[in-house]
């Protein structure tokens, strides 16, 4: 047990550092983000330019084989790259779905000519992809999809609605799961397609989130035509394709806490006064500072264990499944307590009370989303209970019946 890279990892890290230094700008402030001051179109153009450079150097798909535009590297090298990149002003959340889910799915399931047409462009950021699985009636229960895909000759006609589609408003293509057979049980009647987001009949509407942002969209499909060549995997084989898509997401372990929340809590507690004394001297506050550290550092350490397994060429252990559950709830609890430090004034918006409070207020408003996104706390607990502890699955009445009868 030590806290060091192996010689090979250290060499790779040095190589990555040198490339990043030559090609990007390090962050000057902890909360500085890519493209500050640019409008959306200019930011997107800058992001695409960055991704093209990254792909040129082979860092867009480190673990992919060289002949597919990757580096033929290890999962650990990918992690090292991400760790190093985190200190630089690079775009976030624009290419994640392309690289993490959609392109690997294309690489596995698409026809050769479509791979040739899309993979290189996707890696270079020329085309951006989104994932269209969730629907109003298919959230935690992804098998409940009701978007119809009706075959007509060598085409499919799609009708229905998708929801929570990240980035649909700037994406070029998407992978979409639809119901092609209503007489089969729910998971057996689904088919996966490539959707051209600019095709006639595709309508994208932003979702106004409770946090005030609009990162997600509703996507409506009205008689959208998709060529059968753009089917991914067999007709009615969509569930298996979807599982393979989500497998690729395995290492992208969603939703970590920022690692410095206890420091931000300490900082605010120094500035607040409780009964005339600095709040940081109050035993109740100190207790919460300690608990905040235990949760966020615990998540970091669990990820460190997962990385250790990767570094040794093994699969990360089952404990990785608790990170998102712990991180999202901790974010909510820590932010909630931080706001309480200021008493009645803590209920004022940061615009009124001061910029010091901006970060924690954003976190507090974002936390309910973090607890739901990528699996609600309750779904995550079922996953832990069933897959890690080996407890029985839920009793269900929807496994065998034809979907139209549910």
């Amino acid at each position: 047990m030590d806290f060091k890279d192996s010689p090979e990892e250290a060499a790779y890290r040095a190589e990555v550092r040198a490339w990043l230094q030559a090609n990007s700008q390090p962050r000057q402030r902890a909360d500085q983000v890519f493209g500050e001051g640019l409008d959306d179109a200019a930011k997107l153009a800058a992001a695409k330019a960055w991704q093209a450079r990254k792909a040129q150097a082979g860092y867009a798909a480190i673990t992919w084989p060289k002949e597919m535009g990757g580096q033929g590297g290890t999962a650990m090298q990918e992690v090292i790259y991400k760790q190093e990149e985190a200190g630089y002003l690079v775009p976030r959340m624009i290419f994640e779905n392309s690289l993490g889910q959609c392109l690997p799915t294309i690489a596995t399931w698409a026809l050769p000519e479509l791979k040739a047409r899309h993979l290189a462009k996707g890696l270079a950021g020329e085309e951006i992809w989104c994932q269209l699985f969730s629907e109003p009636a298919a959230g935690s229960d992804t098998g409940g999809i009701r978007t119809r895909a009706d075959q007509q000759g060598d085409q499919w006609i799609l009708n229905g609605q998708k929801v929570w589609t990240s980035g649909a408003h700037f994406c070029d293509y998407g992978i979409l799961l639809a119901r092609s057979d209503w007489d089969k049980p729910k998971q057996e009647g689904l088919t996966m397609f490539i959707l051209d987001m600019k095709a006639p009949g595709v309508e994208i509407r932003p979702i106004h989130q409770m946090s005030g942002d609009a990162e997600f969209n509703e996507v409506f499909l009205n008689d959208v035509r998709i060529a059968d060549t753009h089917r991914l995997g067999p007709a009615c084989g969509g569930w298996k394709v979807m599982l393979s898509t989500l497998m690729h997401e395995r290492l992208a372990v969603g939703g970590h806490l920022p690692t410095d929340l206890h420091k931000r809590l300490i900082d605010l507690a120094r500035k607040c006064r409780w009964n005339g004394k600095p709040a940081i001297d109050d035993a109740r506050v100190r207790e919460r500072v300690a608990d905040a550290f235990l949760l966020q550092h615990g998540v970091e350490l669990i990820i460190a264990r997962g990385l250790t397994a990767l570094s040794k060429g093994k699969a990360p252990g089952p404990e990785m499944s608790i990170t998102k559950l712990v991180a999202a709830k901790a974010m909510q609890d820590i932010a909630s307590f931080a706001l309480e430090l200021a008493g009645p004034e803590g209920a004022l918006s940061h615009e009124s009370i001061g910029q010091d409070w901006h970060y924690m207020q954003r976190l507090w408003l974002g936390a309910p989303g973090a607890r739901v996104a990528g699996g609600t706390d309750e779904i995550m607990k079922n996953v832990i209970a069933e897959r890690v502890l080996g407890l029985p699955g839920e009793i269900r009445n929807d496994r065998k019946a034809p979907f139209r009868e549910l």
Binding site: D5, E9, G255, I266, R286, L307, L389
Partner: protein, 375 residues
């Protein structure tokens, strides 16, 4: 809502035990599964013996108990990482032995604060199991308000109110005001009284001293500094016992929930119990990684040890208490019987959680470290 990967300065990529260390753990686990059985633990529970001699003998003979004592003093000369894994197994199998008294506390106090002569005189006897040693290093939390022991440079007077393994021990290291004092308990003027403990598998005693010959622990360091260092190490080692115990009671409860049926189903299929067990698992795994981090800091003697030890102490104490309490709840009525082992884990969680100060004292220590660090 995807936030970036953690930003370790120098990235942690080797945060686990080595294959050799895991093999040692496996051996200890197999040995304890065979010897530290429920029936054996219950001999100590019933007060028929002060500790389990067969289990103690095996832990000594394997070189497991003395893993962290250098070979020059008769130990196995392995290290703290190995001792941590031994501790995890001791906790998992409720080993009713003076491992913490003799090895986490007394031997460590000697190693960190003893003179060369003191180390040579006592450590080989502790390592060989010939002598059981114990330590009572004082705590900030108290009810009995026993006056401090009085040490005049050569004799000791007064009372040590609750000394773990105080009946079985032949040597004690005690806080006496500013001093750390070493007492041969076979000397004249030592009077021992067995005390009833909430965990009778880990017995305590009151020790009374009347002009008892004693000597100062000669380390050239301030007593308080040695105490802090010993307690930090003990916090990590005890955390491993707690993590082992918490993992075991979860296993036992999970297995029972798969056997027991109610309302026509395995009770483990009810979401209320599935989520309860997922919660236990979650806390256990958080405690485990904090214990691992503590193990690293202890083995590396890292500046982060005070912080890492406090974090391990709090996380593991809360996890084991929670697992033990909820383990009984999962069992239902049968879990409340003397015959089931559930209460042995509950009792052990109480003992381990208070032996070197409660989670509350350690949480405040953790907060102190964090606030200092942020200053």
């Amino acid at each position: 809502m995807c936030l970036p990967l953690p930003n370790f300065q120098d990235v942690t990529v080797n945060f686990d035990f080595s294959d050799d260390q895991r093999r040692l753990q496996d051996e200890v686990r197999k040995m304890l599964a065979a010897t530290s059985t429920s029936a054996e633990v219950r001999k100590v529970l019933a007060g028929r013996t002060a500790y389990s001699e067969p289990v103690w003998r095996k832990l000594i003979d394997m070189g497991a108990a003395a893993a962290a004592i250098p070979e020059t003093y008769g130990g196995a000369g392995l290290g703290y990482l190995e001792l941590c894994l031994v501790a995890e197994e001791a906790g998992r199998h409720l080993a009713a032995v003076p491992l913490s008294s003799s090895f986490y506390l007394a031997a460590e106090a000697l190693l960190k604060g003893g003179s060369e002569a003191q180390k040579q005189r006592w450590l080989p006897r502790i390592a060989s199991g010939e002598l059981i040693a114990t330590a009572a290093l004082g705590a900030g939390e108290t009810y009995l308000a026993t006056p401090a022991l009085r040490f005049d440079g050569s004799t000791l007077n007064g009372k040590a109110a609750a000394v773990p393994d105080g009946i079985a021990a032949g040597l004690a290291i005690l806080s006496a005001g500013e001093d750390l004092v070493l007492v041969d308990l076979d000397s004249s003027g030592v009077d021992r009284r067995a005390l009833a403990s909430l965990d009778p598998t880990r017995p305590h005693a009151e020790l009374n001293f009347r002009d008892t010959p004693a000597e100062r622990l000669q380390g050239g360091r301030q007593g308080a500094d040695i105490v802090a260092r010993v307690l930090n190490g003990a916090a990590v080692l005890l955390a491993f016992e707690q993590v082992g115990g918490a993992a075991r009671i979860l296993d036992i409860s999970r297995d029972y929930s798969l056997e027991r049926k109610a309302f026509g189903r395995q009770i483990g299929s009810f979401q209320a119990l599935k989520h309860k067990m997922a919660d236990i698992y979650t806390r256990n795994e958080l405690a485990r990684v904090h214990a691992y981090y503590g193990a690293w800091a202890l083995a590396a003697d890292a500046p982060a040890l005070p912080l890492a030890a406090a974090a391990a102490r709090v996380a593991a104490t809360t996890a084991f208490k929670h697992a033990a309490e909820e383990g009984i709840e999962i069992h239902g009525g049968i879990g409340f019987t003397w015959e089931m082992d559930c209460h042995l884990y509950l009792r052990r969680s109480r003992h381990l959680g208070q032996l070197i100060g409660s989670e509350h004292a350690w949480r405040d220590r953790l907060a102190h470290e964090l606030i200092e660090e942020a200053a």
